[in-house]
């Protein structure tokens, strides 16, 4: 897109994003406590390392390094052969050591890029500056009316990868698309569980506006956004707020802001004037990470196809763009192997049918069951058996699409699959009646019971035929072939 299409009241907005991704590990970055703080009582997943006691020795988690290396490939680059840890100093009660162990000078990822899909379907490349490993801080709460705060260190030490983009986005839509694409990639590459509700990915957006496209304006940083929607809203809010200030002749203050969802606005949190006073120095407790060529090659071969590869593959099979995006999301939040059956479907018609079944039947079913804490597990083998079996019945004209849906829902949720799908469907009354004489007797019954509708049809009212077909479907409990029923109704009335 040309720069001028981005202009808002003559100002060019520029956005950079930092994202903290929680790595999928069992334990913390430097300690042996469990990483899974969901529902845990406060301060139960803590030891001397999380408390930052003098003499406690942090030891690096090899799995966190592996996940970060996988992330490099998800960002279209390779991990650095050499990286190391530094101490970042600041005082805050949720950081008991007085410093955070992070990577400042030599991060595990330098460079990289991801392509984002724009509103018009074209792609745009957004470059990645760097990504580094660091430990999370604890969580603090501030009881209303009290003169104290409460700290829970369960989350302290959780391994994070902080991914920093170049300031190359120019609209709220691009910022949202970047956050969404990062979410897809971090899950596809198995870097993180990417559960936004649990805070597995948290976005900080740096926004500035400028009348001169060659020069960046003063930026604000809105921190800790945990949904794509809030990224979009916070960026739009900041663009409007900054332009209004500048139009009033006021200056933008470089500061940290927070998004308040109740009020749908950002509010100032603290001034960033001391930003560079973290007094970083190399952490003497953690020896550097050296990744061999063999290790990097091994990680490379373990990282599966990224979303853009799937877009190309599914697009070539004739799946529509909007459907593809829904399928990619299903790969993230329903089932990692859900897409495989589409590629193996065998015919163009089946590709579309299977994509449609996943989007309209399996995904809603499994999300609903998961919400009711009755999650169902569907193996790729079962999915293929069910989809192929039901497709065969449809292709033989033995199943209506409504009954196909009922059958799929039932078969995906039962423990054992029936040996003979057709016999099973028959016993459930799903098999479509295509026997003319059987349908004819039902049609006759319906015509006798609805003389007014018959008169209406004779007077040329086409709607009445639809009503009669509906009655036939009702009497046959949905098993009559509707096209055949219509044909017979027309024949008998004429």
């Amino acid at each position: 897109m040309a720069d001028d299409t981005y202009l808002v009241d003559g100002y060019l907005p520029t956005i950079g994003i930092e994202c903290h991704v929680q790595l999928r590990t069992a334990t913390k970055l430097f300690g042996v406590m469990s990483n899974d703080a969901r529902g845990a009582e406060p301060n139960t997943l803590v030891d001397q390392v999380c408390f930052g006691l003098p003499g406690a020795l942090p030891v690096l988690n090899e799995e966190a390094v592996r996940r970060a290396a996988q992330a490099a490939f998800a960002l279209n680059t390779t991990p650095q052969p050499f990286s190391k840890f530094d101490r970042k100093h600041y005082f805050y009660p949720d950081l008991p050591k007085g410093y955070q162990i992070s990577q400042f000078e030599e991060p595990i990822i330098l460079g990289g890029s991801i392509d984002i899909v724009q509103e018009d379907g074209t792609t745009k490349t957004v470059n990645i500056t760097r990504a580094h490993l660091e430990e999370d801080a604890g969580k603090s709460t501030h009881p209303a009316g009290g003169d104290y705060s409460l700290v829970d260190l369960n989350r302290a030490g959780t391994p994070l990868l902080e991914i920093v983009s170049e300031p190359e986005m120019h609209s709220a839509h691009e910022a949202k698309a970047f956050a969404h694409e990062l979410w897809l990639r971090m899950k596809f590459a198995d870097v993180s569980d990417v559960d936004l509700y649990q805070g597995n990915m948290r976005f900080d957006v740096n926004v500035s506006v400028s009348k001169n496209p060659e020069e960046l304006g003063t930026r604000s940083e809105t921190k800790n956004l945990n949904s794509f929607k809030s990224v979009e809203k916070a960026v739009n809010y900041e663009i409007a707020r900054q332009i209004q200030l500048l139009e009033q002749g006021e200056a933008i203050v470089q500061e940290t802001r927070g998004w308040v969802d109740d009020k749908q606005k950002t509010v100032s949190q603290r001034s960033k004037e001391d930003a560079h006073d973290y007094r970083y120095f190399p952490d003497p407790d953690i020896p550097p990470i050296v990744l061999s060529e063999e290790y990097i090659a091994d990680v490379a071969s373990s990282v599966p196809d990224m979303p853009d590869v799937w877009r190309g593959r599914l697009g070539a099979l004739g799946v529509e763009r909007a459907t593809i995006e829904t399928l990619l999301e299903a790969r993230v939040d329903v089932d990692e192997q859900i897409l495989d059956c589409i590629v193996a479907a065998g015919s163009d018609a089946r590709v579309k049918t299977y994509a449609n079944w996943i989007v309209n039947i399996e995904v809603p079913l499994r999300k609903e069951r998961a919400q009711q804490s009755k999650a169902i597990d569907v193996t790729p083998e079962r999915r293929t058996s069910v989809y192929d079996g039901v497709a065969l019945l449809i292709e033989a004209d033995k199943l209506s699409s409504n009954n196909a849906k009922s059958l799929i829902v039932e078969l995906l949720s039962t423990d054992t699959l029936p040996a003979d799908f057709e016999a099973h469907a028959q016993s459930k009354g799903y098999i479509q009646m295509s026997d003319s004489s059987a349908i004819e007797s039902i049609v006759q019954e319906v015509l006798d019971a609805n003389p007014q509708a018959v008169t209406d049809v004779q007077n040329g009212e086409q709607k009445a035929i639809g009503f009669l077909v509906g009655q036939v479907m009702k009497v046959s409990k949905g098993t009559a072939n509707p096209a055949l029923a219509k044909e017979i109704i027309t024949k008998l009335i004429a």
């Binding site: 334990t27 406060p42 139960t44 030891d47 030891v59 090899e62 501030h142 700290v151 006073d277 003497p284």
Partner: protein
């Protein structure tokens, strides 16, 4: 002798969460200045072409398996020793 202003010392104190008396500010102003002088002496050494020494142990990849282990200092003992707590929470001065 390096120049260090009163404001420099107060800023450092703020970043380190320390409250200093006027006498202490003056004391640290001189002491820190002599440390800076020492650093200036080190800076005079020509280190062109040398890689920075981040660590002296010579170790690399000192890592552990990602398996949950029992704590050396367990949560209950750590909580018992807190100067101030509220049930299982660490209680601190109001932050915001």
């Amino acid at each position: 002798m390096s120049k260090l202003t009163r404001e420099d010392v107060l800023k450092l104190a703020r970043l380190s969460s320390l409250t200093l008396s006027d006498d202490e500010v003056e004391q640290y102003r001189t002491e820190l200045a002599s440390i800076l002088d020492y650093v200036d002496q080190l800076k005079a050494v020509d280190v062109d072409g040398l890689k920075p020494t981040y660590q002296v142990s010579g170790l690399t990849n000192s890592m552990r398996e990602d398996t949950v282990q029992p704590a050396k200092a367990d949560a209950e003992k750590l909580l018992e020793r807190l100067p101030s707590r509220d049930d299982r929470y660490i209680r601190v001065g109001r932050m915001i």
